[in-house]
């Protein structure tokens, strides 16, 4: 594990009712997103990397230096790890001004007072907060506090930056702006970045690669775009907004586990996943005559207004989510309980084996969506 320039970690932490076993690798300059539902162990992994929770097994090495290895009896305390962390609630020191907050890590590293202040002011300027130097955290907006927290974490020059749900505390409009700024700052940062989030958009925008964990185990990993294209669990499929099914494929026909069948133009066979976006689903009130080769009846179980579409949840075999326009909802008179036909073109359905090319067998989805 040592000798690697970036982060190489096998994080194993055991609790009474929970165990975490996640291996993570980040190249210098890389941004890895750790994605998972609440209680999956994301925060515990982050705390272990920060040294706030000791490992029970595995090891953590950063830039060739072992930080934690219970078998070898190595444990480097948090303060000596050379890390920076942005906490979900920022945890800016309430009694210190913005500039003193940012200078805190520099002062801890024995940078002379004046020099630390100058550097901290430089960081605030870079964050677009030059006018906020003497303001205390209590008087800052959420977006400002987030930037000060990022500046504070980056100022001492960490090799590993840990971001714990860095945008979760922001309102929607601020979030968008801060997200794109954060992306810019992360691009300038030469160290490794681990982003913990449950928001897939954060992960897509900010990270190069994803590790998805559920119940303390990795269920999928890969480049952001790959994971988004080919989810392997219900959780990931829901995150990226795809209909995901598992079934047995023979010659372009997939018998879906739990009932129903799908036809695809993707060549595949055996135990497979099949996905298609809700926008690929066309709804009809009666059985359509069109060219779609997949067509099955169902009942509307729910309607949900999204930005400019309505997501329709349909109980059928297989169950399906469809995105339609508000006009279509009116035309088809879609209400809960209405019977509909769902149609999907065979060319829209992607199919891939459940055993991923890395040899890692995915956790089977609990059921179809």
């Amino acid at each position: 594990m040592t000798g690697v320039p970036g982060l190489a970690a096998d994080v194993r932490v055991g609790r009474e009712d929970f165990s975490l076993d996640v291996d993570l690798a980040i190249e210098p300059g890389g941004v890895l997103a750790l994605l998972g539902p609440n209680g999956a162990g994301k925060s515990t992994a982050l705390q272990a990397l920060a040294g706030l929770v000791p490992l029970d097994g595995g090891s953590i090495a950063l830039a060739g230096r072992c930080l934690d290895d219970p078998r070898a009896g190595v444990f480097v305390p948090t303060a000596e790890r050379g890390i920076g962390m942005v906490f979900q609630s920022y945890l800016l020191f309430p009694h210190l001004s913005a500039v003193d907050n940012v200078a805190f890590g520099l002062r801890a590293a024995r940078v002379p007072r004046r020099q630390a202040r100058d550097q901290a002011l430089g960081w605030l300027e870079r964050m677009g907060l030059a006018g906020l130097a003497d303001v205390k955290p209590g008087a800052m907006s959420g977006g400002q506090a987030q930037r000060v927290a990022l500046a504070r974490a980056l100022a001492p020059g960490p090799r590993l930056l840990l971001l714990d749900e860095p945008l979760a505390a922001l309102d929607a409009s601020t979030k968008m702006e801060v997200r794109s700024e954060l992306r810019r700052h992360l691009a300038d940062f030469g160290g490794c970045t681990l982003l913990v989030t449950h928001d897939p958009l954060d992960a897509m925008v900010l990270a190069d690669a994803l590790v998805v964990i559920e119940d303390g185990r990795v269920v999928q990993r890969g480049r952001t775009a790959e994971v988004a294209r080919a989810p392997r669990t219900d959780y990931v499929a829901r995150l990226v907004g795809l209909n995901l099914y598992r079934g047995q494929a023979t010659g372009g026909r997939i018998a879906v586990d739990g009932g129903g069948a799908l036809v695809t133009t993707d060549p595949c066979g055996g135990d497979v996943f099949a996905v298609f976006p809700p926008s690929a689903v066309v709804l009809h009130r009666h059985r359509p005559d069109g060219s779609a080769r997949n067509c099955w009846p169902g009942r509307v179980a729910g309607l949900e207004q999204h930005a400019d579409t309505v997501r329709v949840q349909i109980e059928s075999a297989p169950a399906v989510l469809a995105d339609v326009t508000a006009a279509a909802v009116a035309d088809l008179d879609l209400t809960v309980g209405a019977s509909v036909w769902a149609a999907v073109k065979a060319t829209e359905i992607r199919c891939y084996p459940t055993v991923d090319p890395g040899g890692r067998r995915s956790v089977p989805p609990a059921g179809t969506l």
Binding site: A50, G51, L52, P77, T78, A79, E80, R81, G82, I83, G84, M85, F87, S89, L91, F93, P94, H95, L96, F104, G105, A108, A109, R152, A153, P156, L162
Partner: protein, 255 residues
Amino acid sequence: MLLVPAALAVAFLVLPLVALIVRAPWTTLPGALLSAEVGQALRLSLVCATSATVLSMVLGIPLAWVLARAQFPGRRFLRALVTVPLVLPPVVGGVALLLLLGRRGLVGQYLDAWFGVTLPFTTPAVILAETFVAMPFLVIAVEGALRGADRRYEDAAATLGASQSLIFRRVTLPLIAPGVSAGAVLCFARALGEFGATISFAGSFPGVTRTMPIEVYLALETDPPAAIVLSLVLLAVSVVVLVSLRDRWLTGSAA
């Protein structure tokens, strides 16, 4: 049914103070306040109570930190031990201090033999007696503040590379400052009113160990109006303490 005893209780608590104010020799008050004895006792009391408060903070804050944060066997027992002076009659505390630090005391004999230091019946003895009685107030208040403080700020400081002592000085202490000041005020008030431990360990030498409460007690025999004046001064100090603590004690939200 309950209102009658409640009213009696209020009368019982308030009327003595009313009597004190009613019977005060208001016309001769300025002169009495400026008299040499009163001035001397007041100065000595302030110096000793302040020193005792500082000493209590220097020793008591670290002790509070240990009680609040460290995990070790016997922590609960230690905590109980620390609070003993709260319930111990102060005069017993004075006797105990004499047996430890007196000329023939457990430690005092060596202080005398090796360094020629004799503590009893000196101003430092007053400070020690007051510290013994008052420090637990500070320790309890600061321990409570430490337990209530958000420890994640300390985690944040650690991720920024701060050592334990730096974290304590620059993060923990400022965060619990309200609790520390409340404890210090209580501690000061208790030290200022200290009588039993002081008189048994430090005696009553004018200008050296005769603090305000002792002066009040002695004046009551010889010069009752002076005793009233001194009592009024101590009452005024208590009121100031109460006012300075009203936000955190009278509203029931201790730090």
